[in-house]
Symmetry: C2
Subunit: 325 residues, 2 copies
């Protein structure tokens, strides 16, 4: 990569996107951050925009003309060599209530990016997919080859739809598609997620922490720094075919919501009372239990620095500091 | 079912849809055929519309207001007890050239049907999916559990997207989703497909049959009568969960395009010269080789009356008669 190349980071003002921008600063390429600030924020990227190689374009990526404008803008800066797509709806319950949300923000964003990429002959697509595409496998450990894929949220459905559209595009014009199936990711700058929500609730009412579900939901959590290093490991490898699908996650089977609630209370206000719900699901579309195989990724030589417990504890502290607590 | 119930058959004027209408005539339910006549034809259903229980509503199922109108029309006839969705784009190369085609006709039709079904509390969805959702597994035999799902056409991608959206809807409000993963299906009234195309070509130029691809593509073919009986077998079974995914196909591994070309020439004009292409794919998005496991369906007690060879030979004759040859 060089000063004439452009890396397009969609959703680059969001939680994971802004961490990726940070990591790419040293590459010497131009970086174009595309975001509509729906979840992302100018605060997350203000410090990067001081760098003359970093550019920002505000855009709703689900709209064809807007995406066209984005590519015109980015192409004027140099050759667009690859696209990273991390923009999506991140409010899963909202997407279940109104399917248009995930169709538009989680699927059409991918769909419209592909339309423009084909025109420009851009051949490398990096996609933030999700463990949500698998649905509920209960006690079975989920590998990249597991099926059938029966997502239980519209978010998971539209991430799977995006994967499918990318796979078809690889047959048509892309030469490499990296599909990163994310676990739950924690760290800063937090914009949503369980820790963020718990701290927000305690700021509103320091005496009580109401928890959706009975607290038994068990999930794996990866710290965003480990996620970024995993994505770059996958990105930098040669592969045989055109489409690389990889589960990313910690090696352990995760922690319970109860563990997270207790650690948040410990950090923010140890006198707060935790009140649990009665369902083993936090909401419609929540997968209560989840065992993830990351053997493929481990075979690439990557390993996480933090396990789920350590990632949660570190992130609680980081997010508390973000709230200036 | 009774005279107050309504079965909605989307794509009911098409090849498979009209065969389904025929099979449902004896049930005593009202049947509403929804079709936009893009591939379907009034000729396919004229004889059924003479029956007072059969109704037709012309509609583009990808448009929200139109689907709303359809459900108002159908609900006025009785309780809509289930939806069969067989409408889709069926021109795979066209969908690869213009992704909007499959997004609209293959995916949004499913998406918009679900929006209205939720409003009306209709809980049973029968979906015509496709082996195209699997992509190219080469020599591996494909079962319902095979993965990863990497379709190589936008048609396959948008069928998979539909499956995913249905799966999420089952978590939300549907109580039963039958996902039929179709093989290549042959029979009449033919509207598209390899036999239909070959006969059409020979009508234009009786001396030559140009074939896309080198003729080695090997696929399994099921006769539409066997397909209908398979769907009804699956439909009538009780299952444990809410989503039933089943491969439908013959037991054999299919026949080559060369076999079909030779049999068509034999039937239509034995002096015609067959001219093959050079690629082992007929077009971008064509899966050259395909081994399908139908063990799950066989375990339900179904078995096909015809194998691939017999289905092709019978369908060639039926389609030739349809062309009045």
């Amino acid at each position: 990569m060089n000063s004439n190349s452009v890396i397009l980071i969609c959703g680059g003002a969001g939680f994971i996107g802004s961490n990726l921008v940070n990591r790419f600063l040293s590459l010497g390429s131009n970086i174009v951050i595309a975001d509509n600030y729906s979840r992302g924020s100018s605060l997350n990227i203000a410090k990067y925009l001081a760098n003359p190689a970093v550019h920002f374009f505000e855009v709703d990526l689900s709209k064809r003309q807007n995406v066209k404008n984005l590519f015109q803008y980015a192409a004027a800066l140099g050759d667009i060599c690859e696209v990273w797509h991390l923009a999506a709806n991140s409010d899963i319950p909202l997407g279940v209530e109104n399917p248009d949300v995930d169709h538009k923000d989680t699927f059409l964003t991918t769909f419209e990016l592909l339309i423009e990429m084909k025109k420009y002959g851009i051949k490398l697509f990096n996609f933030a997919s999700s463990s949500a595409i698998y649905g509920d496998f209960g006690d079975l450990r989920i590998s990249e080859n597991s099926g059938p894929l029966l997502p239980i949220s519209n978010y998971g459905a539209m991430k799977l739809a995006s994967e499918a559209q990318l796979s078809a595009a690889a047959e048509d014009f892309l030469v490499r598609v990296n599909i990163f199936r994310f676990p739950n990711v924690v760290g800063v700058p937090a914009t949503h997620g369980v820790i963020f929500d718990f701290i927000n609730k305690l700021l509103l009412d320091p005496s009580t922490l109401p928890v959706l579900g009975d607290g038994t939901q068990q999930k794996a959590y990866l710290h965003v720094e480990d996620l970024i290093s995993a994505m770059l490991t996958i990105h930098d490898r040669d592969i045989e075919g055109k489409v690389e699908v990889v589960n990313i996650g910690p090696i352990d089977d995760g922690v319970s919501v109860k563990f997270i609630a207790e650690k948040v209370v410990e950090r923010i206000n140890s006198k707060a009372k935790i009140i649990y719900g009665t369902s083993n699901k936090g909401w419609v579309g929540d997968v209560p239990k989840f065992k993830y195989s990351v053997d493929k990724l481990l075979s690439y030589g990557w390993s996480p620095k933090l396990n789920s417990e350590e990632a949660i504890i570190k992130a609680i502290d980081e997010i508390a500091l973000q709230f200036e607590i």
